[in-house]
Structure formats: C-alpha cells, structure tokens
C-alpha cells in the first residue's frame, strides 16, 4: 500500500524549465496485458520516480506522463527489463533544462 500524498509535485516541476517533445515519447511502457507483474512493477516506479510520472487515478488505474521527466534514469534501472518498452534520452534540445543543477 502507498501512503497518502500531501505534496504537489507538479508545482515543484513547474519551477523547472522544460522543452517537451509532444511528438515523441522518450520513455514508453509496455501494455499491461503483456506483463504478468505489471501492477507490482508499476508500484515500484510510483515510489522511486522523483517526478511522480507514474501515478494511479482514484480507481487505481495506472497512468504515465513523460512530460515532467527529470531524466534521471531510475525507472530504467528498475524496469527496463520488465514493463518499460524503451528508455531513451529526449531528442535534440528537448527535455528538462536545469538552471542551477
């Protein structure tokens, strides 16, 4: 079970500068139906992704949005052999841009 969340991560992400590549996802998940351990693996990503890209809606359905990605690669380490279809870096000039880092 995942504890209740009282922090608004989107607000924090909105402080960063991004150039989101709307056309091309740089991370893609496999279909739930293809992966026997999908839910279990997805929960790991909910816990470990600092940008909260992996979430569940009120009915518990998984959702994923790469737009706020910090490009750390944590989900690649956890799930590139299981529920991630691929993990790439965003295309030229795209993605997050740290001003201080």
């Amino acid at each position: 079970m995942i504890d209740p969340i009282d922090v608004n991560v989107d607000e924090k992400l909105s402080l960063n500068r991004y150039e989101v590549d709307e056309e091309n996802a740089h991370i893609r998940l496999k279909n739930e139906a293809e992966c026997p351990n999908f839910q279990e693996e997805f929960d790991k990503l909910i816990i470990a992704c600092p940008a909260a890209l992996y979430r569940r809606d009120e009915e518990g359905r998984p959702s994923f949005d790469y737009a706020g990605c910090l490009e750390c690669g944590t989900c690649r380490i956890i799930c590139s052999d299981t529920i991630l279809d691929y993990w790439r870096y965003p295309g030229p000039t795209m993605g997050v841009e740290y001003r201080w880092g």
């Binding site: 924090k12 402080l15 470990a48 940008a51 909260a52 750390c72 380490i77 030229p92 201080w100 880092g101």
Partner: protein, 428 residues
Amino acid sequence: MADFDVIVVGAGYAGTVAAYELAKAGKSVLVVERGNYAGAKNMTGGRIYSHSLKKVFPNFEQDSPVERRITHERISLMDPEANFTIDFTSKALKQEGQDSYSVLSAVYDQWLAEQAEEAGAEIIYGIPVEDLIMEGDSVKGVIAGEDSLTADITILADGVNSLLTAKAVGAKKPKPSEIAVGVKELIELPSGVIEDRFLCNPGEGAAWLFAGDATHGHIGGGFMYTNKDSISLGLVATISDLTGATRPIYQMMEDFKKHPAVAPLVRGGKVVEYSGHMVSEGGYAMVPKLVANGCMVTGDAAMLCMNLGYCVRGMDFAVASGQMAAQAAVEALDAGSVDEASLHRYVDLLENSFVLRELKQYRRFPHFMESTTRIFKEYPAMVKEIMNSMFVVDGKPADPLKKKIMNPVKEVGVTTVLKDAMGGMKAL
C-alpha cells in the same frame, strides 16, 4: 583520417576537464553535449573537494563560480521525533588544496566548458549521442543527430545513466542495489541569513548529512549544502530498498523538509528548482572495464563515486579521471597507437592515484551499509533515548547515568551494536 583526434561525450566535470587538457596539448577535440548548455542536464548535491580540480585550474578559488568554502561538517542521526548532530569545524578544512566547495552543476559546468573552449576545444550543444560508430570491437566515433563524427579516440563522460558504455566496454546495467536516486530542492535565502543560521563566516558554509528519518528508515540519507544565496536540500535513497517503501521519494523529501530539525533552517526560503539524478553507490565492484580500442570511460559513466556515509565524493574523481584520460590520450596519439593496450595507460594512471586506490580501499563499505539497516532506524532511535534520558528533567528520581545509557543500547543488543561498530571500522 578521422574528423577529430578526440571526441568527448558529455560536458560535465570529467568531459570538460578532458577536453580542456586535450585542447591545451594541441589536440583537436570535439565535445558533444545533449543539454543546450554545459550542465543543463547535470545535477550535484553538492560539494567538490578541491585537490584534483586544483591540479587542473590552480586559481579556481578566484576564477571559478564556486559557491562557499565548506568549513562546517555536520552529521545527524535523525529520528522522527529527535535529531542528534555532530558539528565539526577545523582549520585543516580551510587549507588550500584540501578544502572543499559547494557548487551548482549547471553553473559550474558552464565555466568549465568555457575554459575548454578558450583552450581550443569545440563543443556542440543540444544533441544527444545516440550511438557509437564501431568497427569490430573498436570505437571509431559517435552518431549524433544526423551526423556521423569520427575520432581516433572517444572519451565517454556521459554520466551515471550512460547508454553507451554497454556497447563500448560491455558495462552491465547497474543493479537497483548499486544505484541510488537523488532528489534536490534549491531554496533561495539571503546570504546573511544563511551565514547566521549555519553559523558560518561570509563566503564559508556547511555540509550536512542526515541518516535515519530523512528517508524514513530506508537506506540512504538527507543532505544539505549551503550555497552563496541558496540551500541545496535533498535526499538520496538506494533504489532496491526504496522500492519496498510505502511512501514515494518526493513525499519523503517533503517530510524531510518539514522535520523540526530542518524546517527552521529553510524557513522563508523560496524553492526555485527541483531536480533528480542517480548516484552510483556500489563502489569498486561496479566500475566497468575502463578502456577499449579507441575508447576510455570517465567520471560517473565509469561509476567513479564513493559514499562512506560521512563523506560523499564523485566530482573530484570525475575531474581526476578526465585529466588522466586526456593524458593517456595525448600519449597514445603521439605514439600513433590508440588500441586498448595503449590506452591502458589511463587505467594505470587511475590505479596509481587516489581514484582507484580509494575505491579499492573502501570496496567493502557499500555492502556494510546495505546490510546494516539499523543505521537508519534503530540507531537514531537509540541515540534519541540516551539523549532524552540525559536531558529530559521531569522531577522523578533519576537512574544512574550508566543505566540511562545502557538501557537503550540493550534494547538494540550490546553485541549487535559492537558487531556493527566493528563491521563499519573493518569496511573503512
């Protein structure tokens, strides 16, 4: 004939230093950086120990945008209800060549890149290297965007999440137990307020590590570094242990920030950036093969990072490895041979320096930390109980001091505590 003598992938600490040294030696060098400027995709805790940087830039203290010289080392054992801190300051921490500085990577990398460019290196920004040009098992250059760019030597300095080292040197994808994820908030505060709150002179600052409740008892810890007019506050958590937690890392970060020992330090501050990055924690065991025909691996891409709990280092390793890769590259190019045997000179240089010596010296520590999870829960609680028994005065007749101290220790187990202390010493 190749397009360049050397192509460097990544304009971080290792890559820019390598490029600077190569350009200074008169070699043609191209750096390919996927960010729109150096450091745009980089993040540090962070503090850099000066010793290796000083060898490359003897006047970096005056010339480069360091934030503050670190003169206070603080370490805390954090319980949900208490916090025990050691504060160490010493003249030796301030001595030139053995001091350390807080830095911000996106700022600092740009300065390093400028030095490389002024020395004659070329840098292209905003283009990720997608692949390596291979001829058999030799690296012959890179594929970036539409371009194939060739070089006699390719130096990989593309960071902890390198997608290229697998192909170049057969590096394995790190295991979740070998890697931590870090998150950080940059919190702006006036410099005078920082100096008052952290008890520091102007231009000087504190580095602060927290074990225990910062990660809600999970392997890892909190960190705080004072910059000129901001505080870097964050968490690092080993991925394999974190994924068993019930609370996402961003919520842990928020809880840490609200802990009564942390909240007053950042009160009134304005969060201006939220960043994430991985940290290699596995030590020497996860360092990949460092050279191949026409290729060397440096910095975080080579997993050159060391976490001893009280001391976390990576950037000084990156700088040294960049410099040594450049030295080996110059010698190899001058001798007209860039095969693996010639480039092995780079490994020899690392072996004879602090880089691989220290990583080897402390190679048992990552396992100790991973297997001694009491550091993160039981020990902060034990210290809290001891301190409470000493400092809380409630008007009831008190036990003798020996009993006050030994009771909380007995709760964990005297032999367990001794064993852990011995284990820690042995691993260090």
